[in-house]
């Protein structure tokens, strides 16, 4: 499976997890722990790692039409 497909599915999974977690554990502490701490701590470094990896895979002229 290609890297962009994995990252796209990861974003969708994070969407589902965030809302699924919120719905299942709908009390104040769980909610803010997940939304203010867990989601950004997971997603922001992963987005940067994806950008780095995809830039290595398709650097400069490679892949450019």
């Amino acid at each position: 499976m290609s890297l962009p497909k994995i990252f796209g599915l990861y974003l969708i999974a994070l969407f589902v997890l965030t809302y699924g977690f919120g719905w299942a554990f709908n009390f104040p502490e769980a909610f803010w722990i997940y939304n203010l701490i867990v989601t950004p701590i997971i997603s922001i470094p992963v987005a940067w790692a994806y950008l780095w990896a995809i830039h290595k895979k398709y650097p400069g002229e490679a892949g450019r039409p």
Binding site: F27, P28, N35, A47, L51
Partner: protein, 486 residues
Amino acid sequence: MISLIIMIVWLAIIFIVGIWAGKVAPIKTKEDWSTAGRSFRWITNYLTAHATQLSALTYMGFPAMMYLYGLPLFYAHYTSYMLGTCGFFVLFATKLWRLGKRYGDMTPADALTRYWGGGKWFGYLWGALQFWALIPYIQVQVLGAGLVFDLASGGIIPVWLGALITYALITIYVWLGGLRAVAWTDVVQGAVLLFGLWIGSIGIIQVFGGGIPNILSSAAAKLPHLMTVSGYKGWDWPYTISWAIAFGAGWGMHAHMWLRQLTPKTEKDGRIWTGIIFAENFVHGMLLLLAMLAIALVFPDIKKPDLAFLQTIEKFSPILYAILLAGVSAAIFSTIDSQVHILGVIVTHDFIERSGRVMTDRQFIWANRLTVLIAMAAGYILAMVYPGPLGILGMYPAAIGFMLYPPVLAMLTGQRWVTKEGVVAGLIAGGAAAVLFGPGPYANPLRIHFGIWALVANAVVMCIVSLFTKTKPPEDAVRAVIEAGW
């Protein structure tokens, strides 16, 4: 009075920067006007993109909703904006940049029309949809600018005059400098508006909230309805989730945000700005939420929640309050100037040039300038004459943007089976669903936001009609998208 003085100084700075951008690199070609020669480094591209995206809603609308509805609003808007709109930028901005550089793309219609084999009416349809999404947005922002002037001057500058000043300043610098003037003013404005959001929020968190742990524990004890999805004031689970998805993901489909994916100088610049907007938007949203929870704890009975963030800052620092008012005007200016600029490009490029009329660079630039003048005038007149329905119309921009995803994703992932007839039928069905289930008697059936209904209608009709029709994308167009890489 100090607010008014700072506001005047601020507007003078913006005006000088805008004029300067037009003077140092005079607009000579269509590319200069439309994409600033695709010359922006990552910091410029990030600041112009983010300043364009942040608007009056950032300082007034969303804080008010956080004050009223609490964490569900943050959850709904900021989390899903990061995963939706910013996720789209991270995934597709470089592909769009490569295609744009190769073919000279300026608008969404360029890439989409080329993919499905050309056709002027197909291009007109995409241009018209962008008008539908953007005109209500401009109306709301022009009105918001008038309100900020009224607030900063203590009523000395009425709403109509403030909106008129906004109209004049933006028209002049966009007229002279095209996208370069828009971007350079956005850089200054982006820096001020982000500074205001961060410093203002941190100030409120410390002064009124007593720090983050105290805010969270106090809010959980005293305001539990703001810390859960409780159905409070209609924000139950179906509405929260569906509102979140439509609002969070819809903004990236607007033509002025699409253009930001085409303007970086290099691929590396194009990747870095998407990573920054992915992270920063979440961080300032988090600070803003904590600030609004602190305000809800200390001042539970604010009559005008739209002004809660600004007026609370005034209580502890009049100077910071004045700077924040400049930040609000920055947010509004940077949104309007980008929108009128892209509407000019859509009229001249997507409608006039696509109709077969060949325009010289000079004719193109002048046609754009006149469109800017007319679009701003339309926004001003509509905002003054029909201020009531603006709130209703203002519901549409994100929902219409969200509705456009199915054909855009089909194009960007090189789907061969989706036909042009399928795309047209889907867009018509999606538009009809947005009107039917938008604000009005049949609004948001089953408590699901109408943007979701519009997208589902578009996707379903697009898929079904594609199965029975034949105008598939030409092989060379599909290959170009695939070869563009990621």
